[in-house]
């Protein structure tokens, strides 16, 4: 069954101000750079780890089914150094389980609910990376 995610929307990749840098480290062949998907949900897990930071959120679809999406960022030290265009200073405590956040990024080519992140918006509407809205 192909999932439908209520809060998914697609945009053409183009006017992104910041390149997050996951591809700088590892290459990004697993993701489709021509698409951007946005999902909103509660943080279930936040791993501020090498080589890439991972954010997991629980997203509820139209039918009420909960799907866990994961998002991949660059290395924690790059984020902590503000070397990736981040509006906030990243740390291992910047996100907590239960925070309602929005993730935008390039989807996995396999169809897995996983993103190479381009934008992260926290529970206060602040773009932690990737722009101001």
């Amino acid at each position: 069954m192909i999932r439908k995610i209520a809060s998914v929307s697609c945009f053409a990749l183009g006017l992104l101000l910041f390149v997050v840098g996951a591809s700088a480290h590892h290459g990004g062949a697993a993701y489709d750079g021509s698409q951007t998907i946005t999902v909103t949900g509660e943080v279930t897990k936040f791993e501020f780890i090498n080589p890439h930071v991972l954010i997991y959120i629980a997203v509820t679809d139209e039918s009420g089914k909960v799907v866990e999406w994961s998002g991949e960022l660059t290395t924690p030290i790059r984020l902590a150094r503000m070397d990736s265009g981040g509006a906030e200073k990243w740390s291992k405590d910047i996100l907590q389980p239960g925070d309602e956040i929005t993730l935008s990024g390039n989807p996995a080519r396999s169809g897995a609910p996983s993103l190479r992140l381009r934008k992260v918006i926290d529970s206060h509407g602040v773009a932690l990376i990737g722009g101001t809205n």
Binding site: R81, S110, G111, A112
Partner: protein, 251 residues
Amino acid sequence: MLQRETMLIGALVTALMLSSSLFAQTDEHGDDLSGVWTNFAIEASRPFQNSALRGDPPPMTAWAQERYAQAKPTFGSKSVAVVETNDPVYDCFRPGTPRIYLHPFPMEIIQTPGRVLMLFEYDHTVRQIYTDGREHRTDLAPMWMGDATGHWEGETLVVETVNFNDKTWIDREGVPHSDQLRVFERIRLDEDDNLLIDITIEDPVAFTESWTGQRRYRRVDWNIEEFACMDNVVFAEYEQEILNYDPNATQ
């Protein structure tokens, strides 16, 4: 007569020792390159700054083309997903020289008498560039990062690195090299206090002619932090899950 010749030879030997001694002193001159540096791409190289020294493949011999065809890099025109790569760096072997410059992490230069150290954040890789006038070692096995010696020409640190094994790639796009690789670098500050590294690659087994690349770095007020390559190996499990995902499977 014999005594005069002996004295003359003695004088010549003394002069040679003096000039050698003077050379050893000037060897330590040059700009202070010490500090932490991060990549500051030259405009023309932005599209490939994290994966190659040049925008097109270098002029490869048939020997190199055969190996290039077998390479499965994660960058460049023939990139594959991480789980499908045969890039030796993903097995945590040293990246080699000059490839270490292509990994997007800072490096620190520490100048000491007789030796310039490059401490790379990426897997804490270290290059030791001996500037005390020594020759390259020939008694050790070929190395991942090569054996580097250098000297100062004015404000420029001139480095020659040899004695490589043939197991690393020149870049992150799968271009190979042989154990005959010689890497020449001219390292200096520009007028804006950026670090410029001119790189010349010579390898008659792999390339039909020598070729060049350039890197630029800017100073940053950072410390070199930890980045352990083995974390990549663990992370591969996450990437494998993404790649193997079956969208038709019910959960």
